[in-house]
Amino acid sequence: MKVAGWLPRETTTLLRLDGEGRPLLLYTYGRQHNVENQPPEVLALSPNAALPKASTPAPAAAAVPADSPQPPVPTLVPAGYAGSPFGDRRNPMAPQRIPGRLQCEEQGPGGLELELTLGLHLVRVQFLAGNTNLDYLEFRAQ
């Protein structure tokens, strides 16, 4: 028994099958969904499939005049979260000075430096080496 399909690049796909192996639902979540903070696309592959309520398409964004204030940036950071200072055997656990250079803990072969100004506006991203996943960074216009 097998099911054929098409897997787009840089996506997370979830295929839901019933108890006899028949495809019911196909979820596709790509980089653009992440960037725009949108839910995954859901495709019903069977008339018996029950679409989740959250799968209704989002309404199109209304036109915004050029001089209006910027809309809030979608974020997964909890309200009121102020961060926790980093510390290790070489660096004391204390809040880093802002404006200034924020040095991140190196978790792999790569590294990342961020320069911040008051209000936690991201000014510059510099790759030191290797690959760094930028999906988890929050960007705000200065």
């Binding site: 099958l17 108890g19 192996g21």
Partner: protein, 68 residues
Amino acid sequence: MARHMGGSFVPSRTNEAKVKSIATRDGDGLAVMLLNQLQDRDLEYDLALSKDAPSTKPLAVRVDAGWP
């Protein structure tokens, strides 16, 4: 998507190192998540739900679902 990943873990594998698969099975059926890390191409695939199901597609995902 995550609410479909319930029940018991089911072993699965792919023939492409940049594509990861995770499968679970519960009382309602099977859920298979595919994470395609390839940045340069889409892939046509076969999801094989039994050990010996043949595939001629570039990507073969095999899930040991215990189905014939």
